[in-house]
Subunit: 297 residues, 2 copies
Amino acid sequence: MRFDDIVVKAKESKKVLSVACADDDTVIKACYDAYRENLCTPIFVGDKKKIEEIIEKNGLEEGLFEIVDEKDRAIACEKAVKLVRDEKADFLMKGFVDTSVLGKAVLNKEWGLRTGNLLSHVSLFEIDRYHKPFILTDSGFIIKPDLDMKVNIVNNAVTVMRKLGVTNPKVSILAAIEKVNPDMVETVDAQNLKKMNTEGKIKDCIVDGPLSFDVTVSKESAKHKKVESDVAGDADIMVVPDIACGNIMAKTMIYWTNCKFAGVIVGAKAPVVLISRSDNEKNKMMSIAFAASIGKF
Amino acid sequence: MRFDDIVVKAKESKKVLSVACADDDTVIKACYDAYRENLCTPIFVGDKKKIEEIIEKNGLEEGLFEIVDEKDRAIACEKAVKLVRDEKADFLMKGFVDTSVLGKAVLNKEWGLRTGNLLSHVSLFEIDRYHKPFILTDSGFIIKPDLDMKVNIVNNAVTVMRKLGVTNPKVSILAAIEKVNPDMVETVDAQNLKKMNTEGKIKDCIVDGPLSFDVTVSKESAKHKKVESDVAGDADIMVVPDIACGNIMAKTMIYWTNCKFAGVIVGAKAPVVLISRSDNEKNKMMSIAFAASIGKF
């Protein structure tokens, strides 16, 4: 499934989007765009006065969407989360609030959206030099995952891929090299993840690693390096060692290649859309469409 | 100075290249190409029989270059290094031998090429979406540098940039974010490196960090994010947290953007050319030209 198909699929069943701390120019404009494209109907939770000012300032149609007035950021997150829990909304969006504050609300034991899974960030990329969309993870939420967290990161990405129609996705655990080196923890983790996959502890996918980026995306490179791998040149999911690496790699693609891109936090009952001030309009829309098409976990 | 200028400069004073463990198809072919382009004259140190077989097999002119016969890898590295020490060669190239074995020979206390500097890898990139060539470091030699090593990595890159005619280069210490977070060691290191630069402990450059990739390469992004930095959108040198990140970022550019690329280990008296089996002909040549134009440290 390519990006255009994802947008088409997302439009099929227009969903309600609960926006936590919506008083943010970029977020409100993206929501209006998404509504106009028939992707979703937003409910804005946040400082009503500020939200209305932003709507007016940007010349957007007034009175179109429900606004839940709540100035306190933590309580606004709680109210936004409860809209999803109470099935008044289908998915969440982060507005003008720290990701950690929203994450805490999502994971609240009494009224949150816990599933027992770790929350992790998945980025979907479609790039002109690669033959299919792929997920990069985690480039936006977990700072330095240990082995257990990486198992969850893989599982979350596999679940998302399955929702996009890709069964048994190929997962590359990225590193600088293909050999295991005890001084490079990411190569040791890769070996363990591969073993867990072989032993059936990580299911519904084919895991290989450590693999370099070139082997991950190029069968030719794998042949040159004499690396035999079902994942080589055909990865659906690329797992990076940590957030610094993932973020730098993602930004390199976003700034220096022709690509489409969408980023969402998954693992809770509902996906959480994260858009950045520096994303372009197209990518903001893609993130909303991607989250809408993932649906409930 | 752009890549084409570097090649022109390298041709001005044709240098002698000492090749350690030259019995490698890719390396020998690259040396012949570089010789034909007037970049250097190689001396092959390694298994003479194998070297001659490779030359014959590839239909290359026989008897053109000096061959020093030495089957033992460590001793071949020693002999190749001594050619540079004895001023019979100007720079080194890694053939069919582990980087660590060659590194050990280069750093030998009695007959090596020590300068007191750390050895580090610098990659020079020229990419169509950025306005000038830049150095990425370290994406090929140092696995996980600590703060002291990063000081040396910055110094080595600044020295190389100065040799290319760039005085007072702008250095970005890359991370996922612009804020210092104690859970992200690269952001703490970045803050320290910036401070050392301000205090005059890292000289002849402008260091800023932590900076995200987007702020590093885009003034627009810096403006959006309200980051004030002389380095923003105009970095000459990008310092990555570790080799995994650097390698993945470098390969993303090499495989998915239009770029020219050259990689060399510096810090010893003479630069060491490293080419990879998967580099294309152009990039192999660029690495030799880049090393030739750096000259002695």
